[in-house]
Amino acid sequence: MADPRPADAVPAPTSDVGAGTRVSAAVRHRYSLLTRRDKLILTLMVGIPTILDLVFIWAPTIASVGLSFTNWRGIGAITAQNWVGLRNYTFLFTQYLFFWPAVEHNLIWLIFFVCIATPFGMFLAVLLDRDIRGSAIYQNAFFLPVVLSLAVVGFIWELLYAPGSSGLIDGALGLTSQTNAIDWLGTPGLNLWAVLVAASWRQVGYIMILYLAGLKSVDPTLREAAAIDGANEWQTFFRVVFPVMAPINTVILVVTVIESLRAFDIAYIINHGKNGLELLSTLITNNSISEANLIGFGSAIAVVLLVISLGPIILYLNRVFREES
């Protein structure tokens, strides 16, 4: 390795093309661990995903941000006349009747998932991890809804929630007359919670299977050691197993946050996200993808959702990078 040549042999100016390149090439060869082929492959491996990422994620994102300052409606070219500055945002924040309810509903969704659905899924996983009899059957039963798309889940629960004698729940509760029937999905203030139950039905199974996989990978000797040290079940889980599961816990938290922010399908299937079921995602769709085609305004809402989503993403990445370093 210790070769004195490079320091003085490489001429600073490259006017002497022949000698200079030959020497420096030789130097690089000697010091580089990578062949030219390796470098080409590395460039491709880094370059292609980077290009894909730029083209399919960053370009549209930036385009969305740009469009949010226009009133473009998807027809013809965008001209200077389409530029409206911050008008979409001021209208959104100060006057649009459905924006703040949508933000509130997304937050309720998030809190409900984080505080109820996800812990319940983890609880089921812990129970099923104890090798009780028929564990496989329970696992399948709880996991089954995850296989269904949220749109199908929406259809199923629509039948259950139908008001009066046509719905299973009202029928079972005997609430079939005109005066006492509960319109689960049609009553603003109630329908969000009804939908959250339906969404949780699926979320619980999803979290359960993720957490169960994590629990299975916990080294059994840890539990044995805890038991020998005299820890009870409660202590074993919270002091030993739970901390060991930290990476899985992070994944589950991120999955929960993402599922809450992208909540869309059920509300859209039920009533296109109206009448108490407004969500940011349905507002975006109704404004920019429907016949209305208010692409500029829809983009402004999308940008708001993007900013909200950035919070958890940055937190997560921060954590990942800290662990790595």
Binding site: F91, N275, S290, E291, N293
Partner: protein
């Protein structure tokens, strides 16, 4: 798909389409819907290349067959094809479309390539559909909703076809298919009145009289409630049915001109006359089905069929549900009356919603240049009563528009529907067809009306101000 490389009009996706699709994916929207648009574009592109032999250099842009096609080609001598976009996705109307296409092919020798898309998806996709690779001819609605796309240059005027068939339509239909520029953009193919539907047997059994004034209507509602009936069936889950009630109350209280002015931005939503409509509506709401928010119109129609509800303000298409229920006796029992008059100066207008469906010619179809003559022949075919009758016979509750329609097969209900529309001095299309699409949508007027219905006793002026602000926030229409 084997399109020769030298043609400038290959089946490749046009720029606007591609950018739009990729942009939409970002909007975290429904990937499925976007995918659907891609599929339909793909199908259209396939159809374009696969079936037609290029008759002339596609670059020839000198409007081929422009004049020649005003008359339909002689029977069975023409060849080639026409592509058609259809939103008739329900079984009965879809069957009707297929029968009509078969009849057209038999009469002219022109093959029909139909692309059927789910009704609601079709509406949601219409803007990108018409800008991408639409079919040559497509089904749509008349009114502002037609003129809007005509103004954007996304549909082709068809004055030459119209001039040869216009004698087969009344002047009301002519007005309904004329754009803001005075050109004709569609052939009216059917219509249906909105009115108050009821079962004759129920009215007979309880000895009810048809109400003609507001007081009679309220009295009837109270009697029905005593008799254990829901006076008015009402289902607003889909958001648009409530618009029918708003329309008729506004027409009765404030007249046609104000109503249309309101929906096109010439009048303000903060006008006290709008408050009057909501106030009138409040008086009716105690007699409407309180479960309306969770019910579709079909479920509400079932309440009328099951004699749980006494009346139902809806379009004639309510008869579809009676037909589907399977008992001809039920269908024969269905009748309707005009919404009662409120004693204003506008009673004489006898106005009502009677939406007209039309078939139009797109502007951006890849195949339109070579299919032009066929596309016009297809429109011409739809202007015949015999064609429209094929659809009518499927039990769709949609009345043919052509004068030469053989009405011998009409039921008493159908005849009455024709009569009530012909007697009307003013006809509106429906709130979401008479206004701009971005105003009437799910998070626009549909939601505003739902907001009112959820709490009718709220501060109405605050709600009206919100509606007006929303209108003011919309971009200029052209």
């Amino acid at each position: 798909m084997a399109s020769s490389g030298d043609t400038p009009r290959g089946p490749a996706l046009p720029d606007p389409g591609t950018t739009q699709l990729s942009r939409r994916t970002v909007l975290k929207g429904v990937a499925g819907v976007a995918g659907l648009a891609g599929v339909s574009a793909f199908l259209a592109a396939c159809g374009a290349g696969a079936t037609t032999a290029p008759t002339k250099a596609p670059a020839a842009s000198a409007a081929p067959g422009g004049g020649a096609a005003s008359a339909p080609p002689p029977a069975a001598s023409a060849t080639g094809q026409v592509t058609v976009g259809s939103n008739n996705s329900d079984p009965a109307p879809k069957k009707g479309m297929e029968l009509i296409n078969a009849a057209f092919t038999q009469a002219t020798g022109i093959a029909v390539q139909m692309n059927t898309v789910d009704h609601n998806t079709y509406q949601d996709q219409i803007t990108s559909y018409l800008q991408g690779t639409p079919q040559d001819d497509f089904l749509w609605f008349s009114g502002h909703r037609m003129r809007f796309f005509a103004d954007q240059g996304l549909v082709t005027p068809i004055d030459d076809v119209w001039s040869s068939v216009k004698n087969n339509f009344t002047s009301a239909f002519a007005t309904a298919v004329t754009g803001n520029d005075g050109k004709v953009y569609g052939i009216p193919i059917d219509y249906y009145p909105w009115a108050v539907f009821y079962r004759k047997s129920v009215f007979q059994q309880h000895n009810y009289q048809i109400p003609t004034t507001w007081d009679q209507l309220i009295t009837l509602c109270q009697t029905m409630q005593k008799d254990g009936l829901i006076p008015f069936a009402f289902g607003d889950k889909d958001g648009w049915p409530a618009m029918g009630t708003f329309d008729i109350l506004d027409l009765r209280l404030n007249g046609y001109d104000f109503h249309i002015g309101l929906l096109t931005g010439k009048q303000k939503w903060t006008d006290p006359r709008v408050t009057a409509v909501f106030d009138q509506w409040k008086k009716l709401l105690p007699y409407c089905d309180s479960q309306f928010a969770g019910l579709t119109w079909q479920q509400s129609a079932d309440k009328l069929i099951q004699k749980k509800a006494g009346m139902y303000l809806l379009g004639l298409f309510v008869s579809q549900e009676f037909t589907a229920a399977g008992s001809p006796a039920d269908l024969a029992d269905l009748d309707f009356f005009a919404f009662p008059y409120l004693g204003t100066q506008y009673d004489a207008e006898k106005a009502l919603d009677a939406p007209i469906d039309v078939i139009m010619m797109s502007a951006k179809s890849r195949t339109l240049q070579q299919d032009m003559a066929n596309a016009k022949a297809y429109l011409d075919f739809w202007s015949k009563g015999s064609t429209q009758l094929i659809m009518f016979k499927q039990g769709t509750g949609l009345i043919p528009t052509a004068n030469d329609t053989d009405t011998s097969g009409y039921s008493a209900l159908d005849k009455k529907a024709v009569q009530i529309v012909s007697e009307a001095k003013k006809i509106t299309q429906f709130l979401d067809r008479d206004s701009r699409p971005d105003f009437a949508g799910a998070n626009g007027m549909q939601s505003f009306l739902a907001k009112f219905l959820a709490n009718p006793n709220q501060n109405l002026m605050a709600l009206q101000t919100t509606i007006q602000n929303f209108w003011d926030s919309l971009p200029p229409e052209t």
